[in-house]
Every structure is written in structure tokens, then in C-alpha cells.
């Protein structure tokens, strides 16, 4: 049973680290602001979810579990809201420019 929990925790933490690296690489390398927003959202949702799930399998007292749950719930509410606010502000001030060869 302890080995099973250990293996599950390894899988969650490795998956979360991979998603964090993917999102940050996308935030740095993608060509456009709107696609960079997508890269930042990956690491904000997937990476946070899997890392906190991996940490939840390691708790010893119940209060630590509830603190982790509070962090996860708050980040899941606040991070898409912040992304939406940034996208809305950029859309209002900069506008969306069509590239050549793009439909409509």
C-alpha cells in the first residue's frame, strides 16, 4: 500500500513538472501574444493541479491537506480570471490584427 502511494505520487509530480516546463517553454517561444496566453494557461491549470495532487499524497496531518486544498481551489478560481482580464485588456487596447492568409 505504501509502495502504491509512492508510485502514484511519483507519477503526479513528474506529470506536473512536465506540464510546468511545457507551459513555460510555450510562454517563451510561441510567436504571438494570444498563443503565449495559451502556454501560460497550461502551466497555471495542469501543472498546479498535478503538483498539488502529488503533494497531497505526502501529508501527515489533516490540516496540511486542507491548506493544500485551499491553495488549489483559490488558484483554480483566480488564475483563469487573471488570464481573462489580461486578454480582455489586450483586446480592448491593442485589437486583433489579422495575418496574411488567415481566413476571416
Amino acid at each position: 500500500m505504501s509502495l502504491l502511494i509512492e508510485i502514484c505520487s511519483w507519477i503526479f509530480i513528474l506529470l506536473g513538472s512536465f506540464l510546468l516546463l511545457t507551459g513555460s517553454l510555450g510562454l517563451m517561444r510561441l510567436p504571438d501574444f494570444w498563443s503565449r496566453l495559451h502556454g501560460a494557461s497550461i502551466s497555471d491549470t495542469g501543472g498546479v493541479l498535478f503538483l498539488i495532487l502529488g503533494m497531497m499524497l505526502h501529508v501527515t496531518t489533516i490540516w496540511v491537506f486542507f491548506k493544500l486544498l485551499a491553495i488549489a481551489i483559490f488558484i483554480f478560481i483566480s488564475s483563469p480570471t487573471a488570464s481573462h482580464a489580461i486578454a480582455n485588456a489586450a483586446f480592448v487596447t491593442l485589437g486583433y490584427k489579422k495575418k496574411k492568409g488567415e481566413r476571416k
Binding site: L14, V48, L51, L68, I71, S78, I86
Partner: protein, 95 residues
């Protein structure tokens, strides 16, 4: 295994910082700042587990609150050029 998470978060910090210094527009920088704050929350929690002191989670929760408020405040400031309620602004203009 928390070493793996710590190292990947550190590499992500560097990548996000490159975008923050390089970003062509203001909104790229605000986006990178928001991602940096989320990474800092994760870093504080992971380091707390790594050193066997999960009390650090309180600080991580506080940092998550501050990060959200900071992003919204920066966006509001650059949109309206003032942080305050609109009624007070319009009253000041009318006088």
C-alpha cells in the same frame, strides 16, 4: 522526488523571466508576471515539503492572494491611469 519538482520549477522561472524582460508589449510582461507568481506559490509549497516543514503552506496561500490582487491592480492602473473608484474620478473631473 521533490528535487525533480524543484529543479523543473527553477528552469521554468528562468524561461518566464526571459519572456518578462523580452516581451514586446506591456501585456506580455503582465502575463509573465502572473505566471511567475503562480510558480512562486508552487516553489514555496514544494520547498516546504522538501525540508520537512509544511508550515510554509500558509505563506504560499498568502502569496497566491497577493498575486491575484497585484495583477488586477496593474491592469486597472494601465487601463484607467488611476486606482480608485469611477464615481470619485468623475466627481473630481466635474469640479
Amino acid at each position: 522526488m521533490f528535487y525533480v519538482a524543484t529543479i523543473s520549477i527553477l528552469i521554468s522561472f528562468i524561461l518566464v523571466l526571459v519572456r518578462l524582460f523580452l516581451g514586446p508589449t506591456l501585456y506580455d510582461r503582465v502575463l509573465a508576471l502572473n505566471a511567475f507568481g503562480t510558480l512562486a506559490v508552487l516553489m514555496i509549497s514544494v520547498v516546504g515539503f522538501l525540508f520537512g516543514r509544511p508550515d510554509f503552506l500558509d505563506i504560499a496561500l498568502l502569496y497566491a492572494l497577493l498575486n491575484f490582487i497585484g495583477t488586477i491592480a496593474i491592469l486597472k492602473f494601465f487601463r484607467y491611469k488611476e486606482i480608485g473608484d469611477k464615481k470619485a474620478l468623475s466627481r473630481k473631473k466635474a469640479q
